[in-house]
C-alpha cells in the first residue's frame, strides 16, 4: 500500500525565484510522516511525546528533480522502503518534483533505540514496498 496526500504550494513555501525553497520540502516530508502515523498507525506525535517516546530522523536524502511553483497542488506518496528492527526508511515523493528518503529510529525508555511495537510493525509492513 501507498499513503497519499495532496499539498498545495502556498506563498509561505516559495522563494524570490518563485519556486519552493528546498527547506520547505523538508517540512513537507515531515508532514507526510507525521500524518502517516496519525492516519495509518493511529498514533499521533502528541501521544508519542506524552508517552516519553520519540522518533528522531537519523538521515535525510532528497533529490530535487524539477521546481514546484506557487499554486501547484502536489500529489505526495509515502511508502516504507526499508524496515529494520527499530528503524525505518520512508520513501516520500511528490510527482516528478522531489524524491526523499527519511530514516527514522524508534525510541522508548531513556530515549534509546527500541524495537517497533508489534501493532506498528504490522502496519509498517503493509506499506513496505
Amino acid at each position: 500500500m501507498i499513503y497519499t496526500r495532496t499539498i498545495p504550494i502556498e506563498f509561505c513555501h516559495c522563494d524570490p525565484a518563485g519556486i519552493v525553497f528546498y527547506p520547505r520540502y523538508a517540512e513537507m516530508v515531515n508532514h507526510m510522516v507525521e500524518n502517516y502515523f496519525i492516519d495509518v498507525l493511529g498514533y499521533s506525535f502528541a501521544e508519542m511525546m506524552a508517552a516519553g517516546q520519540g522518533m528522531p530522523t537519523a538521515r535525510l536524502e532528497v533529490d530535487f528533480r524539477k521546481p514546484s511553483r506557487l499554486g501547484d497542488r502536489l500529489n505526495w506518496t509515502l511508502a516504507v522502503e526499508h524496515l529494520g528492527r527499530s528503524s525505518a526508511r520512508f520513501l516520500v515523493r511528490a510527482e516528478d518534483r522531489i524524491e526523499a528518503r527519511s530514516t527514522v529510529v524508534w525510541m522508548e525508555r531513556d530515549f534509546t533505540p527500541s524495537p517497533w511495537p508489534e501493532a506498528f510493525r504490522a502496519k509498517l509492513e503493509a506499506y513496505h514496498a
Copy 2:
C-alpha cells in the same frame, strides 16, 4: 581552506522535544552556502538573481548524529567536496551534530546549467578539500 560560521540555536529552531527541528538545519545549510558566496566569492544571491542567474540545489543528504539544544552555539564548517564543470557538492558540518552534503548547479541564460565563471572556479578550488 575551510569556511566557518557560528550559529546560535534559538527558540525558533527548536521543536516540542526541545531540540532542533531538522528542517531548520536545512535552512542553516542554505545560510552557510549563501554566506560563503557573499564572504568568499564576493557575490550575493541578490546579485545572482538580478543577473538572471541561479544556483538550485539538486540533491541534499544529511546525517543527523546528535541532537542540538536551545542555547547551543554550533560551529559550522563548509568545504567543497566535489567540483564539477557546472556543479559543486558542499560538505557542510556542525561539530558532532550534523553532516550535510548539498549539490548545487550553476545556471545562466534561460536557466540552463552553465560552466562556473572562472573567478568563482578559482575560489571554489581553494576550498576544495
Copy 3:
C-alpha cells in the same frame, strides 16, 4: 458570510514549550487570507503576481488568548471587518485562541494602491461583518 478553514497543529508549528510558536500563527493568518482569495474571490496569489498586482500587509495585530498544542485542530474564521477603497482589514480568528486583524492594500500598476476591482469588492462586501 464568514469564511472558515480547519488547521491541524503539527510538529512544525510548536516550540520547546509544546505550544504554537507565535510567528507560525502569522503564517496561518496569511494562509487564511490566501485561501479566502482562491476559494471566494476565485483569484490566486499566483495569478495576482503574474498580473503584476500585489497585496502587501500594512498592519497586523494579534491577540494571543490561549495557547494551542500539538494535535489541536483549530477552526479558523475570516471576515472583512473594514473595507476601504483600496484596502481591507480582515478579522481572522481561531476559536478562543487567537484573534488577528490584518490590513492589506490592493496594488496595481507600478505597485501603487489602487481601487479594488469591482468583482472583488462585491465579494469582499459579502463577507463584511
Copy 4:
C-alpha cells in the same frame, strides 16, 4: 538605553515578490527579545524553561511601512515602551521598515503571571523609553 542588533535579510526570509514575507518579521521580533534577554538580562530562554518559567507573547502589533529586500542589512532597535508588574511591552523597530509592539507576560509557578524578578525589573527599567 536602546538595545540594537543587525539582521541581514537572507534568501530564507523572502517571498516570491522578492521582499521579506511578513511572518519572518515576527521571527525577527522574537529574535530581538530573545537576545535582549541573553545580552542585557543575562538570562537565556533555555535557562527560563529549565527553571519552569515562561514569557508568552500576549499581543503583537506590527506596522509594515516599507518593504525590505534580499541583501538588506537591517538595523533593529528594542526599547521597553511599557513596564507593568508582570508584563512588558517592547517596541521593536527596523529603520523605516517596520515598527512592532510585543507585549509579554512573565510567568512562574504553574505558569501563572508573576511579578518580574527584581534583578530583571531594574534592567528593564534602564531600557524603558
